[in-house]
Structure formats: structure tokens, C-alpha cells
Symmetry: C2
Subunit: 359 residues, 2 copies
DNA sequence: TTAAAATTCGGGTACGTACCCAATTTTTAC
DNA sequence: GTAAAAATTGGGTACGTACCCGAATTTTAA
């Protein structure tokens, strides 16, 4: 009854070593693809590993290699400019960070100015210099993002897109909304609210509205139109692009259109600028026009409450951030399979249920 | 230059031992509150721990104590009876289980028959005998659940409620919908659809409809009525309780009411039995009555698609399961704070967005 | 053939914590 | 005061993996 501890050496590197009749270190070399193993031994050990369907013990691994994992996050600055939208993802990111901190993962967030491509490039460069093991980024500027992620690929650093996608890039995963589908849903909501004969005004507000496949706003507009087409909705759709984001300009343009087209009964704003539009209608006592827009941000809640905005289409900003980090964690630390695309559920937020969405 | 490895012994039990000038084993005893430490030493070590704000290394801990954690899950059987609703939580539970398997957690699921209190008690007994470290349960039968969780408390086994709550019990957490709020939201949706003068029919279908504070269906009904009250909605509300869940009976009762009240324009069903109601309307070619109901289950998708059901109110069954397991994991293994209540976002599911909800 | 170099392999220690067991000190009993 | 019992403390090993370093083996060079 000397050593009764030897209960279950059924798996693990030790068992591989025993079965292959080699030393632990050799098994280790094989597992990590390190050199210094003869072809013959390599085959032998590989075979045993195969046979045993060996799954490394994450705990032991993490303890032994006290390697710290460093994740980098690259997202827009959190400011009024974007209606504090990125507070959502940021808070999800923080949540996930805390959860996996004990596994030796540290997350560093870098920001960029949505109006300044250079700031994006600058932060991206910082990340490249920082020797990170995984990257979560919002590919706001397409070309710059492609350049950045190409470099990542060359360095074999996995990256995850969040909030918007660049399908041709070999990202580990995309986590965010299906823009087209959200527009399509918008079409349905419009259909619920609009009265026969009423016109619908689609409003795109952004500094730059390029007609490319990746344009977030136009993809949503496409979704709306597509719903109208497919369901043969008779209401006329008008549209206006506003590339000056100052409140004044927006107000001016909106009022112009409304006066010229008194039959407009509903405005569909393709992003969180819906707040500015709502403000405009409220200020000018226009209450016969309903509003549907995007993103549940602090400033939009009041307009939901007082009924100026009827619906907000929202895509779980917090969960996007959380999932983004966890995806890297699952891939790099836990060796779990991760989905290539994770489309967020599309939420319809009203004044009755907004309280149930974490902002 | 002998041993350059001693780089950062800045924290950990070793450092505590060094600072308090005691052995590792003593520190260990203090940390785990085991006996065999003199009062004097206890104070000394405690003080050092306090000073250092010691946070145990989860990895080291998990490796050393090869203790396996066992979680038990107690949920209704997955069958047609409940429209396969519990497939959602079950799949979330599975997802979480896989994620934390590598941390030495094993999850065992027990089922019970929704029509048989004894089966609930039987499974609960099994769990108690099974020496589990944490429990996730759907407290379907109130009294039996209270008895069960009281025993858990006596044994200091933490438990989490899922899908419905028993507020007075000292659960670690409740994860699920805010029923009243979901009904309130239902009120709003009704208001969108109903025409002036139209009557609304609320339908509760369940084997047992006791008028208690915990009754899920009545809480929802309350929410609807409350919305109507507060917003002074003029449409009349009718209601009917059906305690026989056979399709035949439901069809008969529904048709009866509809014939007696031809002004009914909308039916609000307080649970997933909405499918049966939809089936009934379809079968009898009644298409002037709109339907709102609960839960996105496989059989309800068709009715969403063909427009017989307009809205489903849904509360992320999958995420409920996922969160439930992760809550136990966070509490027991990671020592993270967990929220007492986690109300799921209330989703409005339509034919346009149902595809984005994992079932 | 032999020494040197290159290759291959194995022993051993470390990571942070848990826990067994033996050594030491203190307390109790006579 | 002494022996025995009890309480307290410390040493040491284990968990599964990573990796250093030296030993054994093979290959190359002379």
C-alpha cells in the first residue's frame, strides 16, 4: 500500500510518454512542433497522440507557461460625436476582461477618432508594435483596416471584426449586426406605422457617404427598400443624404424636405443621428411625423419616452464587445471552435422595453 | 548569477508566508479557515493577507485541488408538451458546459414532467443525493421548489433560479424574464395593432391557473392591463382561462368566445400555447383576428411566417441557460460577484427578425 | 579510427496552490 | 516534574505542462 495516489494516469503528456516510451520533454517537443526530434520518434509520438485523442489540460498549461496573453482592442473614441454608442461595446469588453483576467489575459483598448483616418492608422501602428496575441477591431475605415489586418495575417495574429465586417478579409470571426436584415426589419416596422398614402423619408447622415458595398447606412436603406419591393408596399420612399453632421445643417435640411413634402408621415434614420432628427421635430413642434432609427444610446431614451421616436433598431452593443473578447479567448486559450460569423439578434426597442437593454 | 528565476514573488501564498514568517501550510489553513492555527498566528496571517489584498491564483488553485465541480440542472422535459421551449435553455447550458469543461466543471441535467409534481420531487431528491456543488433550476412547482431549495440552503449548496423566480428564497441569482414588464410591453404591441373599438381577448392556457403572486401567466396579464390603464386605452379586454390543454378543448373554447364576441380583433396568449390558438384560427379560416403570443419555438415560426401570428414576445431561452451555468461558475470557481437578478432583455420577434434568434 | 560537431533525448525543476504527515511546541494529567 | 496528549507548525509532494540543460547518441570531419 505504498503509493495509492496513482489513480488515473489515463491521459495527459505523461501517459503519452509512457505509451510511446519516450521522455516527457520529447512529447512536449512534438506537441509544440519544436525541432530536435527524429523523424522516427516524431511519427511514433504523433501516432500515440492521435490514438489517445489527447486534449491538453488548459489549467496545467496556463500554470506552466506563465505566459500572459495580451489582447488589443481598436474602437472609436467614446464621445458625443457618436452618441456614446461605443460605451456599449466598451462595457462588454470590460466585463469579459474581468472574467478572463484570472486566466492571465490582459486587454488593452486603443481608440481612434471617427473623423480622422490618421488616428486610426496611428493606433493600429501602436498595436503592431505592442506584440499583441489577438486583436478586436471595428474596421471603420475600410482601406486602412485592410492594410492593418493584412499585416496581422503576415504576423499570424488573429483578429476579430466587430460591429461591421470586411467579408474578404480572413478574420477569425465577425461579430455584429446583419445590416441588410436590420433594414429589412425596419421596412416592416415602417409598414406597421405608416398610413395609406403617407410618404416615407429615409435619412442617411454621415460625414462621408460613399456608395460602396461596405457602406453601413446604404446597406440598411437597401434592406428597407427590399422589404417594400417584396411586399409591394405602396407608400412612396423619399431619401436624403446629409454629409454635414452639425445640428444646424441637419435641422435645416430636414425642415426643407418636410415642407416640400407635406405628405411625409415617417422618417427612417439609418443610424444613431436619429436623435438629432428627433430633436429637430420636437423643437419645431412637428408631431404628425413618426420616427424610426438606430441604436439605443443615452440621449435617445428621452425621445423614446416622450413618443417622438417610436422604434429604435438596436444590436446589442454590449454583447458585441463581450463576444468579441470571448471569441479571442476561446480561440487562443481554450482552443474552442469559434463561429466565422456571429450575427447579433436584431432588437426592436420601444419605450416599454428599453429598460431591459444594457446600454 | 545562480538563480535569476526569482523575478516576481510579489504576491501569492508564498509571499504571505514569507511576510508573516510562517509556513505555507499555515497560510493555507488560514485561507481555508481550517483549524489548527493559534489565535496569534491567525491574526498575523490575516493581517498580511489583508495588507496584500491577496487574490488567489485560480489556475494554481484549480490545478492543485483537482476537485471536480459538479453542477446539477433541473428543468422540464424537452417535448411537444412545452413546444420544445426548453431546448433553448438546454442548448445554452450545453454551450456553457463545454466552455468551462476545461476548468474541471461537469454539468448534469435532470428533467421533470411539467404535469407531475412527483417527478420534480424525485429528480430533486436525486440531485440532493448526488453531492452537487451548485444547482440551476426552474422552480416550476412553487412549494416543492421551496422545500428543495431550503434543503440546499441547509447544505450550503448555492442554487440559481431560471425562467421564473421565487423572490423570497435566498437564491444566488435569478435569471429570466420580468414577466410583468413583458406583459406591459404586450400591451403596447396590442395598442399598435388593435383598431378603435376592437376588443382584445387575453387567453391563459395551463393545466393549473392558481391566482398566486408567482403565477407566470397572470403576471403577464397584469402587465397588459396595467398598460391599458396607464395609457387610458379604450379597447375592451376580455379574458378566458383554459385549464384543459388538449387541442380540441382549446379550439372549442376559442371559437365559442369568438362567436359570442364578434368584435374581438386581437388575441393575446400568455404563453407558447399561442401556437395552438394560431392553428385553430388557421383551420377555421379566421383571418380578421390578429395574434400576439409568447416564446419562439419551432412550431411557431410557420405561423409567424404566414402572418397568422404577428408578434411573439420572447426572452432569450438560450441565453438564460448559458447565463445560469456561467453564474454558478463565476460564483464558485472564479469568485466573481454575481448579480442577484438578471432580467433578460424582452425581445419582440416578428417574421422579419426571427431568424436572428437562436432557438 | 577517432575527435569534434550536430542531433536527439531525458532528467529535473518551476508555476501557485492544496493537503498529507511528521516535527515541534504547548497544554494537560498525574 | 514528567509523561502523555493535544495543539500548532513546517516540510514535502502532487496536480499537468513548459522548458532549461546536460547526457546520450548519431553524424561529420580529419
Amino acid at each position: 500500500m505504498a503509493k495509492a495516489k496513482r489513480s488515473k494516469p489515463r491521459n495527459g503528456v505523461k501517459e503519452i510518454a509512457r505509451r510511446a516510451n519516450v521522455a516527457l520533454a520529447t512529447v512536449d517537443r512534438v506537441i509544440h512542433g519544436r525541432p530536435g526530434v527524429s523523424k522516427k520518434t516524431l511519427e511514433k509520438v504523433k501516432k500515440v497522440i492521435e490514438e489517445m485523442n489527447y486534449q491538453p489540460n488548459i489549467i496545467g498549461r496556463r500554470l506552466a507557461s506563465m505566459k500572459e496573453y495580451h489582447f488589443a482592442v481598436l474602437i472609436p473614441e467614446i464621445n458625443e460625436e457618436s452618441g456614446f454608442f461605443w460605451e456599449g461595446p466598451a462595457s462588454g469588453i470590460k466585463l469579459a476582461s474581468e472574467e478572463i483576467k484570472s486566466m492571465g489575459v490582459e486587454v488593452t483598448t486603443f481608440f481612434f477618432d471617427q473623423n480622422d483616418k490618421n488616428s486610426f492608422v496611428a493606433s493600429a501602428d501602436k498595436i503592431l508594435k505592442g506584440k499583441f496575441d489577438g486583436i478586436l477591431l471595428a474596421p471603420f475605415f475600410i482601406e486602412e483596416s485592410i492594410a492593418f489586418t493584412n499585416t496581422c495575417e503576415a504576423k499570424a495574429i488573429p483578429y476579430v471584426f466587430i460591429n461591421s465586417d470586411i467579408p474578404d478579409q480572413k478574420s477569425l470571426s465577425y461579430i455584429g449586426p446583419d445590416l441588410y436584415a436590420s433594414g429589412y426589419l425596419g421596412g416592416q416596422l415602417i409598414n406597421y406605422l405608416i398610413k395609406p398614402g403617407g410618404q416615407v423619408l429615409i435619412v442617411n447622415i454621415s460625414l462621408e457617404i460613399k456608395n460602396t458595398r461596405q457602406n453601413r447606412l446604404l446597406r440598411k436603406e437597401e434592406g428597407v427598400r427590399s422589404y417594400f419591393m417584396r411586399n409591394k408596399i405602396k407608400n412612396e420612399i423619399l431619401k436624403i443624404d446629409i454629409t454635414n453632421v452639425s445640428e444646424k445643417t441637419i435641422e435645416k435640411k430636414i425642415l426643407e424636405v418636410l415642407i416640400k413634402n407635406p405628405r411625409i408621415g415617417l422618417i427612417f434614420v439609418t443610424n444613431s443621428r436619429v436623435v438629432t432628427v428627433a430633436k429637430c421635430l420636437e423643437k419645431n413642434y412637428i408631431n404628425h411625423v413618426q420616427i424610426i432609427g438606430y441604436d439605443l444610446i443615452p440621449s435617445s431614451i428621452d425621445y423614446l419616452k416622450n413618443g417622438i421616436i417610436d422604434f429604435l433598431i438596436c444590436q446589442k452593443p454590449q454583447e458585441q464587445g463581450y463576444r468579441g473578447i470571448m471569441t479571442l479567448y476561446h480561440h487562443l486559450i481554450l482552443n474552442l471552435k469559434v463561429p466565422e460569423v456571429y450575427h447579433m439578434p436584431i432588437d426592436i426597442v420601444t419605450k416599454e422595453n428599453y429598460a431591459y437593454y444594457k446600454i
